[in-house]
């Protein structure tokens, strides 16, 4: 009795599954052949599709790039070669500091991301792997086809360097390589020497003091600052996620050292800015900076 009952359950489930599968296949076939799917690049993917594509790409790159050996990416010659290749191959779709991508990059789906802050999302070997092998379903070509891996490493070296290049500096680089005198490009400083100030931030900044200073100096009347009582201003950009922000005041890199300069004397940093000099001393600015970089 029990046995036959069990058998019926199995049969019913199996038939249901089969019917569901057949309906699924037929439905998918009808959908594919009807042309109802909107293939237009201008039409965004649905949320779930985007999420699947992104997660698949992220995990695939992480796995495949594992164990790739990295050459010296701080080499000036490599960076310079990378810059030339970047201008030739990457700007079209990704743009550069202060430089727009072309109409080609604007029409793509998904949008080619800006590479200024690529280092926040990918490791060097992953950036190399993406350049060398490309990305399916993202329109990213495999630049490694038919050329030496040296090119992909040069591009990687430059993309790593890109995180510390201002729009003005990028323009200078372009001028240096296009100078008819090759010695100009040779003499250009392709690596960066200024200290971004991360160690000083840890040594001199106190987040709790910073939070209080933000309240006392009234930063919150213009900026929304999470975690600071009453800091709900709407006049100026919200400072949520400050640690992830790439640019500072739209013209400089967001580093502790530069942030302190900006806080101490905004008008010297960016003439004509609406940000006033609130009278923060350098010591106070380090505290404020320490707090702001806790915002994620």
């Amino acid at each position: 009795m029990l046995l036959t009952h069990k058998a019926t359950v199995w049969k019913v489930s199996l038939v249901t599954l089969l019917v569901a599968a057949v309906i699924g296949v037929v439905g998918a076939t009808v959908y594919i052949y009807s042309g109802f799917y909107d293939i237009a690049a201008a039409e965004p993917h649905t949320g779930p599709v985007r999420s699947v594509l992104r997660t698949t790409a992220r995990n695939s790159v992480e796995r495949h790039a594992r164990g790739v050996e990295i050459p010296n990416l701080a080499d000036a010659k490599l960076i310079r070669r990378g810059f030339e290749l970047y201008q030739e191959l990457c700007v079209v779709c990704h743009g550069a500091p202060g430089v727009a991508k072309s109409r080609i990059g604007i029409g793509m789906n998904p949008n080619p991301p800006p590479l200024e802050d690529a280092v926040n999302y990918w490791k060097a070997e992953e950036i190399y792997w993406i350049i060398e092998h490309g990305l399916k379903m993202a329109g990213m070509p495999a630049f490694g086809i038919g050329v030496s891996p040296h090119n992909s490493w040069a591009l990687t070296a430059f993309v790593m360097r890109l995180s510390s290049i201002t729009p003005v500096e990028y323009a200078r680089m372009a001028a240096a390589v296009s100078d008819p005198d090759p010695r100009v490009a040779e003499a250009f400083s392709w690596t960066r020497h200024e200290d971004p100030g991360w160690t000083t931030l840890l040594a001199r900044g106190d987040a709790e003091e910073g939070r209080q200073l933000i309240r006392e100096l009234g930063c919150g009347t213009c900026h929304r600052v999470p975690g600071v009582l009453g800091a709900t201003g709407r006049n100026a950009p919200p400072l949520d996620g400050w640690s992830r922000r790439h640019y500072l005041a739209g013209i400089q890199m967001n580093t502790p050292a530069l942030l302190v300069d900006w806080l101490v004397d905004p008008l010297a940093f960016k003439p004509g800015t609406a940000m006033p000099d609130v009278g923060a001393s350098e010591t106070e600015a380090w505290h404020i900076a320490r707090y702001l970089y806790t915002l994620d």
Binding site: A40, A42, E43, P44, R50, R54, G95, P97, G98, V99, A100, K101, R103, G105, I106, G107, P110, N111, P112, P113, P114, E116, D117, N120, T166, P167, V168, C222, R224, R234, N235, A236, P237, P238, D240, G241, R244, R245, H246, Y247, A249, G250, I251, K270, G272, T273, A274, M275
Partner: protein, 137 residues
């Protein structure tokens, strides 16, 4: 939708826009009604709606956090949350719709050295983007 953007930014009537695709209705009678509904829906999108889509197509979202816009939202530039209440643009201009259009169309002309590039956005398109940004509270 794209042809509608062009139409909208030159303020043409929506009906004219839909009449441009008759092949849909011809394929099958059964498809006529859904096709009309879908077509009308696409063409009756508000200026704000079209602006929101343009903020994605031009890739504005890849640098700015823009509530409601589709796409991977980046942190390269400031968040545009609560734009309506914002007092300044780029720390230099007073935030009015007209000034915002001027800024979007050519940022480096207003703030030399800015990281925000001139993306070749047309004035009509910038107007639509502005319409959407000013809905953000």
């Amino acid at each position: 939708v794209n042809s509608c953007v062009a139409m909208r930014s030159t303020s043409a009537t929506p009906t004219r826009c839909c009449a441009a695709r008759p092949s849909w209705a011809l394929r099958s009678r059964i498809l006529t009604i859904p096709a009309l509904v879908v077509g009308l829906a696409a063409c009756t999108e508000s200026r704000e709606e079209l602006g929101r889509e343009l903020l994605s197509t031009y890739g504005c979202v890849s640098c700015h956090q823009i509530p409601g816009a589709v796409g991977l939202q980046g942190w390269v530039g400031p968040s545009l949350e609560g734009w309506r209440e914002r007092r300044y643009i780029a720390g230099r201009l007073l935030n009015t719709p007209d000034e915002l259009v001027r800024w979007i169309v050519d940022p480096p002309a207003i703030s030399p050295g800015t990281a925000m590039p001139n993306l070749g956005v047309r004035e009509g398109e910038a107007g639509l983007m502005t319409a959407y940004l000013f809905t953000l509270e």
